[in-house]
Amino acid sequence: LRLLIVDDEAPARRRLREVLDDCGENLALLVVGEADNGLDALDHVQREQPDAVLLDIRMPGMDGIEVAQHMQKLTRTPAVIFTTAYDSYACQAFEVNAVDYLMKPVRAERLVAALTKARHLNLAMLDALRQAHPKARTHLSLSEKGRLKLVPVDEVLYFKAELKYVTVKTAEHEYLLEESLVKLETEFGGQFLRIHRNCLVARSKIDQIGKTHGTEEAHYVRLHGLDEPLPVSRRQYSQIRELLR
């Protein structure tokens, strides 16, 4: 069993290694790597292809649940065992959704038990966990030629709903995302603003709101780092005015 350890605290990673050493008698184990943050963890997962990941939930930046969400996009997804020091809400969600988790400090026996039955997660489980731990993702992920492509949400200028996909626009690139605009709006409502039935723009990127000169009165939004203006629907305009005041 090839394992990856992910925890932002060095003592916690050391402790897990020690306990894993103790378990070596009962299980053939190999720790293939350690990561102290979510992005590194995703890197390791793709490089080392571990069978299972011991994943801390609370980490700065990208938390454990988000790491697991992104891993779902991989062709070969490792099994996940979450670790947490204390988390009454999340633990309920784990129990209900039959997700493996360990409470820190971890006992060798519990660790062996968890590793022998380590399971793969699915998106429904992760959605349930997310509800117990509400936090917007820090990155969007898409699979690009078998590789995981991570787009920091901070860099996104706008989301635009197309027929089946959502276009994600950053200053340099454009991506297609298989998610619904409504879901994105709920998750990132604090950072993004709906200007049209099919468009969410980053609040922090708004440069100006203007009126088009033409036969019909219409409004547009200009974003920093984007040449073309985006149309604002009449319905959204009044709300935007309120919000940006």
Binding site: E9, A10, P11, A12, R14, R15, E18, N37, R58, P60, G61, D63, A85, Y86, D87, M103, K104, P105, V106, K135, A136, G190
Partner: protein, 349 residues
Amino acid sequence: MQSKNHNNPPGVLPNFCHLGTSMRAIVAVEAGSLFAALAASPDLSSGLALFAERSMLIQPALLLTLLALCLAGSLLSRLAYASGLAALFLIATAVPSLASSLLNWLLPDSQILDPVQTAAFGATLAALLLIYFHLRGKALSPAVTEARLQALQARIRPHFLFNSLNAVLSLVRSDPRRAERALEDLSELFRALMRENRDLTTLKDEIELTRAYLGLEQLRLGERLTVVWHIDKMPPEALIPPLVIQPLVENAIYHGIEPSRQPGEVSLNIYRSGDAVHIVIRNPYAKDGSHHSGNKLALANIRERLALHFDLDATLKSQLMGAVYQVHITLPYTRAPKPTSSLAPAHRG
């Protein structure tokens, strides 16, 4: 020992919307009118009959008065205590008198209540009741304060306890001495948390406690956490409520260091200026949205504890200054009457 509280039980008007208050008023009025009826009658049975007849009229008048007092309550509580008392007294005199005139007009053939007499009766009872409520409030307030202080006692996050235990376990094999020290810190911290923290403590003790706490955090967070102390101008013997600095530092780490991927600095600046002690705690502001919510609660808790001890003489201000979040506490400089030899002399100025 230093008096626990700068708050004298403040003058607060009785709240007549409360059942207990109204019940006491009703009992007092009935007892008063029974006494009056018995005094005005030649024998017991005619006295009781008079009381029963009068009660028919007194009860509606009394209930109206209580209703008026309850409705006026929020208005009265906004007045200064003295003017509130006067207004309350006025209502308690005027409403029964008006009510009895009204009843006399509505029920002309029943026993007549003289409005002037009713007013006098109402005024006397109102005065007696207000004195009673005042004394009662005085007697009860310290107990209430104490209970509130206990309920407000700072609590450590379970998250911190288990992460610390985990960190200690990670040291047991490789660095047993450091593990020992960490367990000593942990027991010191929990001893302080489990104490009944109602009395004031010295700054020196609170700082020691905070250091024990920070030792544990340092173990977990390593180079992610830098702590800077500016306490050479601190009066170590000054009294403060226990567990004020430690929870604020815990907050600083929980909100400023833990959610951030960059290493950060927490600074403590404690000094005396004139009759005031200043405690300033700063941490980097992490804009990560994951854990905001606890902070306001913890600040409200500490603010209330400061108020229970020092009333308006202590303040707690929190503000965001660019990328730094700061909490600034000002409290009056007080010291224990009998300083033990271990305490350093007070700094002047």
